[in-house]
C-alpha cells in the first residue's frame, strides 16, 4: 500500500515536470505569434496576435493558465482546425490506442513463448529460428515491412484492406508491423531471463519436489524471468502510442501520432502541447502500472 502511494506520488511529480518542460520547450523555441502570423505579416499584425492569444503575459502565468485548463480537460482551441483540441485528439486517440494495444499484445504473445522455447533448448533449431526472426524484426524498417505486407496481402491476394479504419481487418497489418518492431527486444530479454533463472537453485528445488517440467517453467521460472520484460513492455507500449507515426501514415490511419506530426508542421501550438502531455502521461501511466505488476510478481520490490 505504501509502495503504491509512493509510486503514485512519484508519477504525479514526473507528470508535472513533463508538463512544464513541454510548455517551456515550445514557448522558448521561437516566438509563437510571429510563427502563426506568417512571413508577410507586419509588426502590428504580430502584436495583435500576441495580444489575442495572451503571449504577452509572463510565461509563468501562461503556464498556470494552460495547466489548470488542461486539468479540466480544456486544451484550448486548435489554430488550424478551429476546433477544441480535446475533441480533436479524442477521435484520433482511440485509433492510436487500439493500434497500440493490439501491437503490444501481438509483440508479447509472440515474443514470450518464443523466448521461453528458445531458452529451454538453447542452440536448438527453435532457438536459431527465434534468433533469425528477431534479427529480421530489428533489421527491417517499419515502412518497408509495411509496404511489403501491403503488396502481398492487399495487392496480390486482396485479403486485407491497404488503408483506412472501417473494420477490424484494417488493423491487422498495422498491428503486425508495429508489434514486430517491439517483439525482438522482448523476446531476447525473455530468453536471457529464462536462461538465467533456469540455472537458479530454486528451480532445482522445484524439480527435487517432483514438479513437472511445465510447472517448473511456468510457475517457478517464468514469474522470476518476466520481471524485466514487464518494464520493457511498458516502455515499448508508451513508444507505440507516441511513435506510431510511420505505421499510421503507411496505412492511412489518422491517429494521434499522425496528428502530432501534422500539427508540428502547422505550428499548431495547443495541439502539439496537448499531444506531448498526453504521450508523456501514457509513459507515466504504463510505467506506474508496470511497477505495480512487478511488485505483485516479486515481493522483494514491495518494500519501496
Amino acid at each position: 500500500m505504501i509502495y503504491t502511494l509512493k509510486r503514485l506520488g512519484l508519477a504525479v511529480l514526473v507528470a508535472l515536470a513533463v508538463s512544464m518542460l513541454s510548455f517551456a520547450l515550445l514557448h522558448l523555441s521561437g516566438d509563437p505569434a510571429s510563427a502563426i502570423a506568417g512571413e508577410s505579416a507586419t509588426d502590428a499584425d504580430i502584436a495583435a496576435i500576441r495580444a489575442f492569444y495572451g503571449f504577452d503575459r509572463p510565461l509563468i502565468v501562461q503556464y498556470a493558465d494552460w495547466l489548470f485548463s488542461a486539468l479540466r480537460g480544456d486544451f484550448g482551441e486548435s489554430y488550424y482546425f478551429q476546433l477544441p483540441v480535446a475533441q480533436l485528439i479524442g477521435d484520433r486517440l482511440s485509433i492510436t490506442m487500439t493500434l497500440g494495444i493490439c501491437g503490444i499484445s501481438f509483440a508479447i504473445l509472440t515474443a514470450v513463448p518464443l523466448g521461453v522455447a528458445a531458452a529451454v533448448r538453447p542452440n536448438s533449431m527453435i532457438d536459431r529460428m527465434a534468433l533469425f526472426i528477431s534479427v529480421m524484426g530489428q533489421a527491417m524498417p517499419s515502412f518497408w515491412f509495411g509496404l511489403v505486407l501491403v503488396v502481398i496481402f492487399s495487392i496480390k491476394f486482396r485479403l486485407l484492406p491497404p488503408s483506412g479504419t472501417e473494420s477490424w481487418k484494417n488493423f491487422i497489418m498495422p498491428t503486425v508491423v508495429l508489434g514486430y518492431y517491439a517483439m525482438p527486444a522482448i523476446m531476447r530479454l525473455t530468453r536471457a531471463g529464462m536462461l538465467d533463472v533456469l540455472s537458479a537453485d530454486y528451480v532445482r528445488t522445484a524439480r527435487a519436489k517432483g514438479a513437472s517440467e511445465m510447472r517448473v517453467m511456468f510457475k517457478h521460472a517464468l514469474r522470476n524471468a518476466i520481471i524485466p520484460v514487464v518494464s520493457l513492455s511498458a516502455v515499448q507500449m508508451g513508444f507505440m502510442l507516441g511513435g506510431s507515426i510511420v505505421v499510421e501514415s503507411i496505412f492511412a490511419l489518422h491517429g494521434a501520432g499522425y496528428l502530432a506530426w501534422e500539427s508540428i508542421g502547422r505550428n499548431d501550438l495547443p495541439t502539439v502541447q496537448a499531444l506531448i502531455l498526453i504521450f508523456a502521461l501514457f509513459y507515466i501511466v504504463f510505467t506506474f502500472l508496470s511497477d505495480l505488476l512487478n511488485a505483485w510478481l516479486d515481493p522483494r520490490m514491495r518494500v519501496g
Partner: protein
C-alpha cells in the same frame, strides 16, 4: 535389515570438448531404513553429482551408468522421468547447500511448503497447510502459522534452512539426501541445524545420505562413511571403524587435518594434504591419490585392489595398511614429500 537404497558401480560421465570427465567412478553402497551414510570428500570429488544422480536430476549433458540403482525395490536406472518425478519430493527428498537461493523469491513459504504435498498426495489445501504448520513447529520455527505468509527474503539463512528441511519432510520420505546442509550457515547455527536433522531422521526412521566435507559432523552422526576422492570411494565402512582405524592414506590425511580436543596443543600446526586433486578428464588408471600420497609406489599407477577389513570396511590401496599402525603425526602433512605425480 532391508536395504532401501542399493547402489552398484554408479558412474557419472560428462562429455567435454577435451575428453570425457569421469566425475563419479564406480560407487557402491547400501543403505537401510533409519541409517545415515555420510559421503565425505573435498570440492570436486563427485559427492554432489552422486546425490543428483540418485535423484535423477543430473545436468542434461551428464550421463549416468550403473549396474544397480535400486530404491525400495524400484529400479531407478530404468525409471522413466514420470516415475522419477512421482518419487521426488514424495519418497526421496533433498536438502540443498544454499538456503539463501534455494527458495523461490516470488512465492510465500506456505506456497512452497505445501507444493510437494499437493503434487503427490490427494490432500486439500487446508490439510496441506496444517501439515506445513506442524512441520515448521517441528523444525523449531516459532509463530509457524504467521510464517506461511512470509517470503524467503524476510527470513534469515538459518530459518530458511529450517524451512528447507521442513519442506523436504512434508511427505514423510523414506530417503533424505542432504547436500552440505550446514555449509552456508553461521558456525553457531550449523550444530543446531545438524542436530535437528538427525533428530528428525531418527524420529521418522528415514534413511539419510549426508554429504559433507566436515569430518566433525561425520563423527557425530554417521552410521556408515564413504570417503570420496576424485570421483571414487577410497574407503568406506562403519563410521567407528573408519574413524578408529583409517586404512587409506587419504583418510588418514583428512583425519590429521582436524583438531582433536585435548590432543591438539595450542599453537600446534594442523595437518594439510599437499597438492591438488588430479584432472578427471580422459582415462584414469591406478590410484588417483598417488600424486599426493607419501607412501606411493610404482604399483599405484596400476589397478588397485579393493581390500576388505572387518564388518564391510573396504579401502582401495596397494598397501595392506591394516598391518601398518596408523601414524600419529608427520607423514602426509609436509609439502616436500609430495612426489610421483601422475
Amino acid at each position: 535389515m532391508d536395504n532401501i537404497l542399493s547402489v552398484r558401480d554408479l558412474r557419472v560421465d560428462i562429455p567435454l570438448a577435451g575428453g570425457t570427465l569421469h566425475a563419479v567412478r564406480g560407487l557402491n553402497f547400501d543403505l537401510a531404513r533409519g541409517e545415515t551414510l555420510c559421503i565425505v570428500g573435498e570440492s570436486g570429488s563427485g559427492k554432489s553429482l552422486t546425490s543428483l544422480a540418485i535423484m535423477g536430476l543430473l545436468p542434461k549433458m551428464a550421463q549416468r551408468h550403473s549396474k544397480k540403482l535400486e530404491f525400495a525395490g524400484i529400479d531407478l536406472s530404468v525409471a522413466k522421468n514420470r516415475q522419477m518425478r512421482s518419487l521426488r519430493g514424495d519418497r526421496i527428498s533433498m536438502i540443498f547447500q544454499e538456503p539463501m537461493t534455494s527458495l523461490n523469491p516470488a512465492y510465500t513459504i506456505g506456497d512452497q511448503l505445501t507444493e510437494a504435498l499437493l503434487l503427490h498426495r490427494k490432500v486439500g489445501r487446508k490439510a496441506a497447510t496444517a501439515r506445513a504448520i506442524e512441520l515448521l513447529e517441528k523444525v523449531g520455527i516459532t509463530a509457524a502459522a504467521s510464517r506461511l505468509g512470509q517470503y524467503p527474503h524476510q527470513l534469515s539463512g538459518g530459518l530458511r534452512q529450517r524451512v528447507m528441511i521442513a519442506m523436504a519432510l512434508m511427505a514423510e520420505p523414506d530417503l533424505i539426501i542432504a547436500d552440505e546442509p550446514t555449509t552456508a550457515l553461521d558456525v553457531t547455527i550449523q550444530a543446531q541445524i545438524l542436530r535437528l536433522l538427525v533428530d528428525l531422521q531418527r524420529e521418522m526412521n528415514m534413511a539419510m545420505i549426508l554429504i559433507t566435507h566436515d569430518l566433525g559432523v561425520v563423527a557425530r552422526v554417521a552410521d556408515k562413511v564413504a570417503i570420496m576422492y576424485a570421483g571414487e570411494v577410497v574407503e568406506s565402512g562403519r563410521s567407528k571403524d573408519v574413524f578408529t582405524a583409517p586404512q587409506h592414506p587419504y583418510t588418514r590425511g583428512l583425519l590429521r587435518c582436524i583438531p582433536v580436543p585435548g590432543k591438539t596443543k595450542p599453537g600446534e600446526h594442523l595437518g594439510s594434504i599437499p597438492g591438488i586433486v588430479p584432472s578427471l578428464i580422459g582415462k584414469t588408471q591406478g590410484c588417483a591419490f598417488r600424486g599426493r600420497c607419501d607412501v606411493a609406489v610404482d604399483a599405484c599407477a596400476h589397478d588397485i585392489p579393493e581390500r576388505a577389513g572387518a564388518e564391510g570396511h573396504l579401502y582401495r590401496c596397494v598397501h595392506d595398511n591394516s598391518q601398518m599402525p596408523p601414524k600419529a603425526s608427520g607423514g602426509f602433512n609436509t609439502a616436500s614429500q609430495s612426489e610421483g605425480r601422475p
